[in-house]
C-alpha cells in the first residue's frame, strides 16, 4: 500500500505525506468495515462453517484460501445473506457492516446486497438481456431510467472490467453471444455498476485466461482504493498478488488469518504451511 502511494508520480511530495500519515491514523482508529462474530452456518445438522470471527478492514483485499469444500463459499455467501433462499441453511452469530448486524430483524436484505455486491465463480449473464441491459440491470430494475446516467455507468463499468473495447460496438447484442471469459467480465462489470461498498468475489478468475485474469487482478488493485474486497481463490500466487490479508479455512474452521505477507512467509499453523506449500489440498 505504502509503496504504491510513494510510486505515484503525479502527486506532489506534500500531499503524499499527508495521505500517508492519515492512513496510519486510519489504521489505528478505524474499526473494521465489516466483521463476522462467531458466525456459524449450518445445513440441517451439518456444519458449513463453525464459529468464524474475522474482521475486514476498509479498503483492503482479503483472500480466503483453503481446499475445496472447506466452507469458503458458504462463509462468503453468508456475508450478503445469499443463504436466505436456502431453507435448510441456518445462520448463527453476527455479520457486522459498519457495526450493524446485517441479520437484524429491521434490515432489508435487498439493501444489504446493494451495498455488498457479489461476483460468482461461473458467469451469470441474464440470458434475454443485451450486454448493455445486463450491465445496468442493477440500476434499471430498481427504477433508474435516466438514459444518459445509465450510458455513463455502463461505459465506466465495462472499462473497469476490461471489456469495453471488445464490446463497445455491439452493446445491444445479446449477452449470451459473448465468450465465457467475456461473460465473466460482464458479470464483474454488472456488479461494479451498482457501486457496492464491499465486493465479494468467489473465484472470479477461474474461468478466465491468463490475460483476462491479469486484468481482473489489476482491477482489484484499482478498486481497493475505494472499496473493501473479499476474494476466494485457489490460486496461491493470485492470493499473494492481490490481497493484503489472507484467511485460511479448513473443514469449516478458520485456521489462521493475518497479513498476507506473514501468512505466506511465516505461518503460525502447520496446516496453513502445508496447504500453501502444496503438501495437501
Amino acid at each position: 500500500m505504502e509503496i504504491n502511494i510513494m510510486k505515484s508520480k503525479d502527486l506532489p511530495e506534500e500531499t503524499l505525506k499527508t495521505v500517508h500519515s492519515n492512513m496510519e491514523n486510519h489504521d489505528i482508529v478505524m474499526k473494521p468495515r465489516m466483521e463476522t462474530k462467531n458466525l456459524t452456518v449450518k445445513y440441517g445438522q451439518a456444519y458449513g462453517v463453525k464459529n468464524i470471527s474475522l474482521p475486514f478492514k476498509d479498503k483492503t483485499v482479503t483472500a480466503l484460501i483453503g481446499p475445496s469444500g472447506c466452507g469458503k463459499t458458504t462463509f462468503l455467501r453468508a456475508l450478503n445473506r445469499m443463504h436466505d433462499l436456502t431453507r435448510e441453511a441456518k445462520i448463527e452469530g453476527e455479520v457486522l457492516l459498519d457495526n450493524k448486524n446485517i441479520y437484524d430483524e429491521d434490515i432489508n436484505p435487498v439493501n444489504i446486497r446493494r451495498k455488498i455486491g457479489m461476483v460468482f465463480q461461473k458467469p451469470t449473464p441474464f440470458p434475454t438481456m443485451s450486454i448493455y441491459d445486463n450491465v445496468v440491470a442493477g440500476l434499471k430494475l430498481v427504477g433508474i431510467r435516466n438514459r444518459s446516467l445509465l450510458d455513463e455507468v455502463c461505459e465506466k463499468a465495462l472499462k473497469q472490467a476490461a471489456l469495453f473495447e471488445e464490446v463497445k460496438d455491439r452493446l445491444k447484442t445479446p449477452a449470451v453471444s459473448l465468450s465465457g471469459g467475456q461473460q465473466q467480465r460482464l458479470s464483474i462489470a454488472r456488479a461494479l455498476a451498482v457501486e457496492p461498498e464491499v465486493l465479494l468475489m468467489d473465484e472470479p478468475t477461474s474461468s478466465l485466461d491468463p490475460q483476462a485474469t491479469l486484468r481482473i487482478e489489476e482491477l482489484i488493485h484499482v478498486l481497493k482504493k475505494d472499496i473493501t474486497i473479499i476474494i476466494i481463490t485457489h490460486n496461491m500466487q493470485q492470493a499473494a498478488r492481490v490481497s493484503d490479508k489472507t484467511a485460511f479455512f479448513y473443514v469449516g474452521d478458520l485456521i489462521e488469518a493475518g497479513d498476507t505477507n506473514t501468512i505466506f512467509t511465516n505461518p503460525k499453523e502447520k496446516q496453513t504451511e502445508d496447504y500453501i506449500t502444496g503438501r495437501f489440498g
Partner: protein
Amino acid sequence: MRRRRIHDKIIEILLVIATIAVLLPLIIIIFHVIVEGVSALNYEFFTEELGSPSRAIQGRPTGLVHTILGTIVVDMLALAIAVPIGIGAGMMLSEYPEHMLNPTLRIMNDTLNGMPAILKGLFAFVLIVKPMGTFSGLAGGVALSFVMLPIIARATESALLSIPWTIREAGLALGIPRWRVVISAVMPAAKTGLATGLLLAFARAAGEAAPLLFTSFGNNYLPDRWFGFIFNPVDTLPQRLYSLAISPYSEWHSMGWAAAIVLLVMVILAFAFARFVTRGKVQLK
C-alpha cells in the same frame, strides 16, 4: 461385430415402427375428419346460426357462427381467469420453495389436475349458474379455467425451474428485489416454456365438453348482442359436436364433422401463433 450391427438395425426398425404407431392414429383421425366434414364447410357455415333441424333438412341456410364465436369467447374468458392465477401459482411453486404454503399448494394443484372435468363443471354450476339464475358463457369460462389452472401452474413451474438458479442469485446480489428478478430476468428466459404451457392448457380446455354441459349449456341461436355471449347460454364446439353427432339427421352429422375441422384448426392455429410469438431468439447455453 456383424451381430452388433444387426442388433443395432433391429432396434432402429423397432423405433421407426413405434414412431409410426404413434403418428398413424393422428393422421387417420385428421384425414377422416376432413373427408367427412369438408362438404359441410361453406360460406353459410361461418355466417349463419344453426336454428332448428328443419333448416338443414329443407336446405335453408344454416351454420355454426354462434358456436365458433361462443367457443372463442368462453375460451378467452377461461384464459383471462386461469393465466394470471396459474402463472402466479407456478411462480410460487418454483421461486419460493422455502415458503410454508408451498407443499400444500403443490398437493392441491395436483389434485385439481386429476379431478374429473365434469366435477369442475358442477362446481362452476354451484358457484356461478345458481346465483345468476341462468346458464352463461361466464360460467363456462370459469369451469374451463379450472381445467386450465393446474396445467398452467405446473407448466410455469417447470419452465421457470429450467432456468439456472444462479441467474436469480446474480440478480439478488445486485440488490434487485426478488420478485423483480423473477419478472425481468427469469420469466423472459422461460418464455418459450411458459407459452407452451398456456397452449397445452388451451388445447386441453378447448376440447372439453363435460365442464360446459351445465355451465354454458349450449344454444342453437346467436345470443343477444354484445354481452349475450357472457351472460346468456352459449354454444361451444365440443359440446355442439356431440349434440350434432347424436342427432338423427344426416345433414347435422356432416356439420358435426365440419365442427371438428374448425376445432382442430383453432388448436393448430393457436400452436402456430404461440410458436410465432416465442420464436427462439435466445438459446440458453
